[in-house]
Every structure is written in structure tokens, then in C-alpha cells.
Symmetry: C2
Subunit: 339 residues, 2 copies
């Protein structure tokens, strides 16, 4: 009996918000590994905001997702067949397997697969706090914002995988940490469980003045660093309350992924406050990953880095879970559980 | 007979573009130096775009100009009386004397006065290429843009004191240098006399698409660095043609000095292209001035750094010359000659 591999393809490019019709579920037979190849069965898939950018045709920071191909993305799983000396059946691995149940990793792609140790760290954490989101937070913190003890840093999407890790890492550097999250439940989690000094419920603030007032209250000494995950009005409000020499790590601008341009209202503040705004993509600096993963892994293993997961069940649930993620319906890292 | 000191005061704050009525010419007697004080007769005053920002009441990067006081600004001149052991009659000095014929420098202000050597460098150059504008260009180039040989850098206001110095300094680092200036005469000067690789006449380009096309033609390999002097549409056009990891030194946003906010249309490019935008003020890093002045001074003395001056005659001409500067009517460094 041939094992079948369920896959989700990009069927069409969205105009504005993605809909179910942009995705197509198909079944194909699982192949047998040829020499040098490895077959991985996925346990969890990662859903991330950057995937929305890849669904557009236009220029972005990574290649667009090809039409008719499996949606790309991070995955963790277990080796179920191997003709590669570096991998044995039963090995737990993290890779870029995409939205499918199995990944046949070609000999030239094996370098994208990393064996991981699940003795003290849950497998799924390698897609979150000890994976790309955690390293993203670490890079923005250490390479761009670099807060001194006593400085105030702000992070949007604070209950998410990146924002939560960022805030907890910043606390270990002695910073005052203020988050932005949507709704009282997320805000309570950010302050009580993650230990942020304050969290602003952005849903209570519909205009720049209101959000600015909340930032001013939560950051009485002004803002020295901002980890940008959302763009739009939040960025404008933060810039208006930034201190001289503040640093802004620009990592995501989810508001703009649907294609509409979102202007920055007061770029003159870059000069007035001598701001540094720097965009970055975590994969540009692969050389930094080992140091980041070491800190993140030891914090997760010792329980010092907390995180939450929203887990959708089964591959077919991925599109709906992804659309929810883009609307902030997830709480913490959004995963799809397959096994 | 008492010598009289002509002074120009800020009479009122402008709403939009400054007008003659914002300034008032007065005469006051020149004082005698008390113990520790120095009396300087100004030979040249400097007019600079940043002065427009100081005429507003609101927050800017330096204190607003006080109403009813002498307009501040750089000046060069000669010591005509001294009761300070550090200065002798006949010494040539650069300082911050403002829009007046004489400056009585108080004992506590003497540190703002620097003696300069005019053997190989003209006195007025200490207000331009070997002064604040030159050091501004040097800092943006070396501290933020740091071009590698073969990279393409762009500078707006290229025929001005800052832009001209920036481009010539960048050429010595092996960069391809493209300027933006207003009108064919300025553009010809920028390429033929200053040695830029190309210069775009921004007056020929009234919209983003047209200016973008000109940038694309002049920068076939894209833009790796931009020294921002003007803001607005030029910044938008440069961002749209920037390469991955481009650096933008934000030094002036003259378009915004009249108070109207000028949004940045596509801040998402900061992420997509992993740009670094950094605002800076030359006086934030006084520690860098000696190294900058050494390079600039030796280049001017040896004729390798060229510049042009527009010289208004007499103190009463300063307001009109300043308003012309804000409209780009000057050609090179705008000075007022008093002696």
C-alpha cells in the first residue's frame, strides 16, 4: 500500500486578505528516499506572518511562493526513512518542509535539516522560542536595539512568538519592557506570565492620539527601543514618543502585507530624534544563530523563557489557522499538529 | 565715538515660509571686553537650512531660536579686542556669533571660539568645506553610509556645501556618486567641477515616477547609500530604488521645515530591503570633528576638495539671502560678507 502525502498548494494569489480559495489540498504518493535522501514525517508545521508576503507576486525580501507548489514554511518531525549517513530513523529534525505531512529531503537539501535534542526542550519549541521566532527576537534585541539597563523598550505583537521572546530577553538585560497586544486576556498574559512591566491593549485605541497617550502613560521616560512587528499607526505612535537616539528594529509590517501602502506620517522625527530604523531578516545572519539558540535553548530548558502555543489539528486546518493568525486570533505561536 | 553693532533679531515666528517681517534689524553699542572676554568682528556669517527649524516654536533637534534675540549661526572673524590670554588682537576665529557685526564673547562662552589658520585655507572655508557642513558630510559618509568601493551613493542638494563635500569625499572611497541638484547650471557644476559621475536635475521631474526613472538611469546598479538633505518625494524615490542593505543618512529634511508633515510613502521597504535609516546631527559627535577637519582641511589646502560660495553683501541682506537659500536660489555655500 502506498502511503499518501497530503499537501497544501498555493492555488492563486490573494487580492487583499487571503481566502480559502487561495489554497488547494492535494494528495500525492510519498516517495522512497534515493541515495543521500531522507524522508521526514512532520509532527508540527509553523505558521508565520511572513508567509503572507510570499503569497504576493511582487518583490519582497524573499522569493515569492510559486503558484501550484506546496506552501513553504518551517516544520519539525521525525526521520522515517533515510539513505543518508547523517540521519537515522527516529531522529527528531527541524527543517523547511512546508505545508505537507511528509517531506522527502533531496541530497542537496539535507543541509536545511537539523537534528534537535528533545530531552529538555519540546519538539514544537524548535519552531518557536528555540527556532526562527526566538532567533528573530534575539537578533533585533542584540544587533539593533541593544538596550542599556534602565532603558525602555516596546514591542508590538507582544503575546506572539517573537514579541514574547523579545520582551523576556530584554528583561534579562535590565530594560523596562512594554508590550502591545490585542485584548485583555493577551495583555494579562504578557504582564503576569511573561513578566513585562506593562502591556497596552491596542484594540482600545482607535486613533494615533489615543494610542500615543497610552504609550506615554506606559513609558513615562519615553521609548529607547522598539521592536516593530506590525507597522502602520503603531509605528507612528512609537516614533512620536521616542527618545533621542532610539533604535527601531523593523522586523514585520503585517499591516502592509495585504498590499496597501501604509505611509509613515512623520519621517522628520528620524532627524529630530536622531533615530536609527533598521530592517532585518533573521536568515541574513545565519552566523548569529548558534549563539542565539544557545541562550534561547537554555532559557527554555530551565523554564525562564515562557511561551504559549495555539495548535490547529490536521493539515486541512492550516489555511483557516493562517488566516486567523493574520487577524491576531492566535495566542502565542501558531502551529499545526499533524501527528 | 561709540562703535555700533548691527544685529538681526527674530521678530516673529513664521507661519509657513519666512518673510522679511519675521526679522528686525537693530543697532546697539558694541561693548568693551571685561576680564576673560573677547570681542570679535565678524567677516562672514553662515546661512544654513537648519536655521529654519529653529525659527519654529516646537520641538526640534536644537533649542528654538528665542524671540527678540539675535539670530544664531556660525561666523568667522578677527579678534579686535581681548582680555583673555588665549586670544590676541588679529587672531582669526570661527565661532557661533550669529547675525551681527560684532560678538562680545563672554568668559564662559570662549570655548565656542576656535582660532584658525588661514595660511592655506581661506577664512570663509571654515564656515563651509572645513566647517560644520564639511564635517556633516564626513560624518554621514564615514559613520552611517560607509560605502565600499564600487557601491553607488546618492546625495540631494549636491551643489550645496554639504552635498558637494559628501560627493567628493565619497569619490575618494571609490564609490560611484550621483547627485541631485536644481537646474542645468548646478548639475553641470556637480559633474564637471566636483567630479560626480552623474547629476539629476530634480526640477525636470515633477512626480515620483519621473524622478524614479531618472534615478534608475543614473544608478543602473541600484542605490547603496543616500545622504538625505531634502526629504519628501526624493526620499521616496530613493527608497524605491535602493538595494538590499542600503544605508540612508538623514541629515536634513528641508521640505518639512515649514511645518507641514511629509509622510514617507513606503516604509515597508525598510523591511523588504533591510535598510538602515539613521538621523544624525553633526554636533552630537564632537569627538569626530578633529579627524574630519584634518581630512577636509588637507583636501581644501591641496585643491582636491572644491566648493562654491554665494556671498550676500552686508548684514541687512541676510534675511533675503536666507529666504533664497530655503528656495534653492544659492549656488554652493551661502555666506554674508560683512567686512
Amino acid at each position: 500500500m502506498t502511503t499518501m502525502n497530503q499537501q497544501i498548494l498555493l492555488a492563486s494569489r490573494p487580492a487583499g486578505e487571503p481566502t480559502a480559495s487561495n489554497f488547494r489540498l492535494v494528495q500525492t504518493p510519498v516517495g522512497e528516499p534515493a541515495d543521500g535522501e531522507v524522508l521526514v514525517r512532520h509532527h508540527y508545521l509553523s505558521l508565520d506572518p511572513y508567509m503572507r508576503g510570499r503569497m504576493n507576486e511582487g518583490k519582497s525580501y524573499i522569493e515569492p511562493q510559486a503558484l501550484g507548489e506546496v506552501m513553504g514554511g518551517g516544520s519539525v518531525g521525525e526521520v522515517v526513512a533515510s539513505r543518508n549517513a547523517g540521519f537515522a530513523v527516529g531522529d527528531k529534525v527541524v527543517g523547511m518542509g512546508g505545508w505537507q505531512e511528509y517531506q522527502l529531503v533531496g541530497a542537496s537539501q539535507v543541509a536545511t535539516l537539523q537534528k534537535v535534542d528533545t530531552t529538555h526542550i519540546p519538539l514544537a519549541a524548535y519552531l518557536g522560542a528555540v527556532g526562527m521566532p526566538g532567533v528573530t527576537a534575539w537578533q533585533g534585541l542584540t544587533q539593533i536595539i541593544a538596550p542599556k539597563a534602565g532603558e525602555t523598550v516596546v514591542v508590538s505583537a507582544a503575546s506572539g512568538a517573537v514579541g514574547g521572546a523579545f520582551g523576556q530577553l530584554a528583561k534579562t538585560r535590565g530594560a523596562r519592557v512594554v508590550g502591545l497586544a490585542g485584548g485583555p486576556e493577551k495583555c494579562a498574559y504578557v504582564t503576569r506570565e511573561l513578566g513585562f512591566d506593562a502591556c497596552i491593549d491596542y484594540k482600545l485605541h482607535k486613533d494615533l492620539e489615543s494610542l500615543g497617550g497610552a504609550l506615554k502613560s506606559a513609558c513615562p521616560g519615553g521609548i529607547d527601543g522598539y521592536f516593530e512587528n506590525v507597522g502602520g499607526m503603531t509605528l507612528d505612535a512609537v516614533l512620536l514618543h521616542s527618545n533621542t537616539f532610539a533604535r527601531i528594529a523593523v522586523c514585520g509590517m503585517i499591516s502592509g502585507y495585504n498590499g496597501e501602502p501604509i505611509p509613515m506620517l512623520h519621517p522628520t522625527l528620524i532627524l529630530v530624534n536622531r533615530l536609527k530604523l533598521q530592517g532585518f531578516i533573521v536568515t541574513d545572519r545565519l552566523d548569529l544563530w548558534p549563539a542565539a539558540l544557545q541562550e534561547l535553548g537554555s532559557m527554555v530548558a530551565s523554564g525562564k523563557l515562557k511561551y504559549r502555543e495555539t495548535v490547529a489539528q490536521g493539515l486541512a486546518s492550516a489555511p483557516e489557522a493562517f488566516m486567523g493568525l493574520l487577524k491576531g486570533r492566535n495566542f502565542g505561536k501558531q502551529l499545526v499538529k499533524l501527528v
